[in-house]
Amino acid sequence: MDSITAAFHWFVSTFPTLSMALGLLLLPLVPLIIGVAMYVWWERKVIGWMHVRMGPNKVGPFGLAQTFADVFKLLLKEVVYPANSNKALFLLAPLWALIPSFAAWAVIPIGPNVAWSNANAGLLFLLAMTSMGVYGIIIAGWASNSRYAMLGAMRSAAQVVSYEIAMGFSLVSVLILAGSLNLSDIVQAQAGGKGLFDWFWLPLLPMFVIYFVSGVAETNRAPFDVAEGESEIVAGFHVEYSGAPFAVFFLTEYANMILVSFLAPILFLGGWLSPFPASWGLLGEPGWWWLCAKAFFFATAYVWFRASFPRYRYDQIMRLGWKVFIPITIVWVFVAGCMKYFGWVTTGA
């Protein structure tokens, strides 16, 4: 034990910059990965309850260790390369999906100006990172040399591109009202004396709904999970993946879901602000727990959708995106502009 401690001290004192960088990297990643594991467990449990069955209950107390067992199983499995696949791209694809989805977490604030990087263009950075992830899916589909995977990749590309537009517009409306691209400022702009009626969900109600639905579509989750399309194209873009690369795709998908679940409250539901007036004592106190509670609600909504809805057909998703969401968002961006110009909404405390 002493030798390990000594080695640690030696490492930190010899490479101070490297240790600093590693620490900063691990600080957000470890809770995120554990969060993903807990979320997978929660999803399986909730779907189990909704489906009159038990969900995982054998590994660890309440089956809590089930996800960890699954992860270790996947990491120990052989990685099978499909015949005539492009091996380099085949292995690059999961990483290409994973890195942007983790990088996006850099700008997520959990309190006033408490973020790994409190960047001024945080919202722009987020948009850039979430759009990068789709390349991983397209590369995976192409490199697998499988028709199912190719179909899944094509579907995913078209779907993500079209929903990006609607999502972008709903973010623009938030930007107009808040007057800042800094996520921390956006939350602060929602503070006020009226508690939850000061948040942006009220003036931007259609945008709020569209944002979350687009978020579900962007992360390829039911009922928009055509890129995976279990019963049509088997597993879509990752049909040929096994072992660790598959685990990486899995991790990416759930990290993205948690990201969207955190962004929805930050942009529309006042982030860490309390829904109750400040006079309520502890309940009125803002804090990271409010953010987590709100994010938990959205994460559970994801699971709820998956447990109850049938899957859209690919062209129907396109129709919903282009013919319904984009027109609504364009109109509401204009409405948001008017609200700001005529001062119908007050922002900031």
Partner: protein
């Protein structure tokens, strides 16, 4: 510039929506299906040929294994064919029991169908809800025959034995105890008929539950309305039957048109579709579940009031009781002959069909007077329906093919036989 060509895709036999071992070779233009070529034969067990090599009664069990989701209906067609040739008729009570179990089987089949069709279209919940009810009906199978699927309960001359007086209960286990166990056993206090009564009273509410998740669901409607339209002319030309035919608006139901067992004496309606799309067939099958429930209630009522024999007392065909065999030489000989040689069926040929849940299931039986069939031919509805696959799904998209396979309700046990 390179020429853009259509590509072919292998759909199955290892595919989540292949419903067993369907292999479809699809020619695709992007996501649109240009040609669909079903390949069958991956589950072929030569049932028809096997039946030629063994005494009549020993093939009843094979019938269960044809369409393994509607077991007793297949048995019914087979024993009716034998009874036709032998010129015997089952006692009235046996006929009522058969009617009741045919309808239980119909519900079993439609529950399986609604679950797997919903699962194919991405709605997971319905599948598990349907299996909850399926479990109860499977217990009825188990209570009368000892087997949960392959019952071999119908016999030429009646049914194997009368309905049990006691419905088996769940035992205590690590998972089910106390209140939970009580809830599981609350219908199981009395006889099987009491159990069915309780089930039938509860079942319409359960069907409402599935309908709530699907019938008015916008996504479900988008996925099924105007998908896989089968015109009435097409339905007739392809020889469709059952819900596939009724979904296209043709009122044809063997239970009404050529009543067998006690269908002439029970009161029920035959639902008919209008457009012939996947949604109409969905509605038809859901309504059939409700109608089957009605029939079961009527059968339970009759069976409660009228005890009696469930087997003919013709010992050339039906084994005598164990009690008689103890002190009757004749009975012992009959028993020995029946279980070694079987019985001889007079020469002749016959076709007996029943309205199985999937459509008309028929047995064409030729006997040359021996103790084995000379030739047996099964007319399986799934086989007939599947042959229309190419004509129906052309021009639809890949996810619609999955929806269509779902409403065909194919089971490969009977397609390949």
């Amino acid at each position: 510039m390179q020429e853009i060509k259509n590509y072919t895709m292998n759909f199955g036999p290892q595919h989540p929506a292949a419903h067993g071992v369907l292999r479809l070779v699809l020619e695709m233009d992007g996501e649109t299906v240009v040609r669909a070529d079903p390949h069958i034969g991956l589950l072929h067990r030569a049932t028809e040929k096997l039946a030629e090599s063994k005494p009549f009664n020993q093939s009843i069990g094979y019938m269960d294994r044809l369409d393994y989701v509607s077991m007793m209906c297949n048995e019914h067609a087979y024993v009716r064919a034998i009874e036709n040739l032998l010129g015997i008729e089952a006692p009235e009570r046996a006929q009522w029991i058969r009617t009741m179990f045919d309808e239980i089987t119909r519900i079993l089949n439609h529950l399986m169908w609604i679950g797997s069709n919903a699962l194919d279209l991405g709605a997971m919940a319905v599948f598990l809800y349907a299996f909850r009810e399926r479990e109860e009906l499977m217990d009825c199978y188990e209570a009368v025959s000892g087997a949960r699927m392959h019952a071999t309960y119908y016999r030429p001359g009646g049914v194997y034995r009368d309905l049990p007086e006691v419905m088996p209960k769940y035992g205590e286990s690590k998972w089910h105890k106390g209140k939970d166990l009580e809830r599981l056993n609350q219908w199981r206090g009395g006889s099987m008929l009491d159990f069915l009564d309780a089930f039938c009273a509860d079942f319409p509410r359960r069907v409402d539950e599935y309908e709530e998740l699907l019938t008015d669901n916008r996504i479900w409607k988008q996925r099924t309305v105007d998908i896989g339209v089968v015109s009435p002319e097409q339905a007739l030309a392809w020889g469709m039957s059952g819900p596939m035919l009724r979904g296209s608006g043709i009122e044809w139901d063997l239970r009404k048109k050529q009543p067998y067992a006690k269908y002439a004496e029970v009161d029920f309606d035959v639902p008919v579709g209008v457009k012939g799309d996947c949604y109409d067939r969905y509605l038809v099958r859901v309504e059939e579940m409700r109608q089957s429930n009605r029939i079961i209630q009527q059968c339970v009522k009759w069976l409660r009031a009228n005890p009696g024999p469930v087997m003919v007392r013709n010992y050339k065909v039906v084994p005598p009781s164990r009690v008689e065999m103890k002190d009757d030489m004749e009975a012992l000989i009959h028993h020995f002959k029946l279980f070694s040689e079987g019985y001889a069926v007079p020469a002749g040929e016959t076709y007996a069909a029943v309205e199985a849940p999937k459509g008309e299931f028929g047995i064409y039986l030729v006997s040359d007077g021996a103790n084995k069939p000379f030739r047996l031919k099964c007319r399986a509805p799934s086989f007939v329906h599947l042959s229309s696959m190419d004509a129906i799904v052309r021009g639809y998209m890949l996810p619609d093919v999955v929806a269509m396979i779902g409403t065909y309700d194919v089971v490969f046990g009977e397609v390949d036989r």
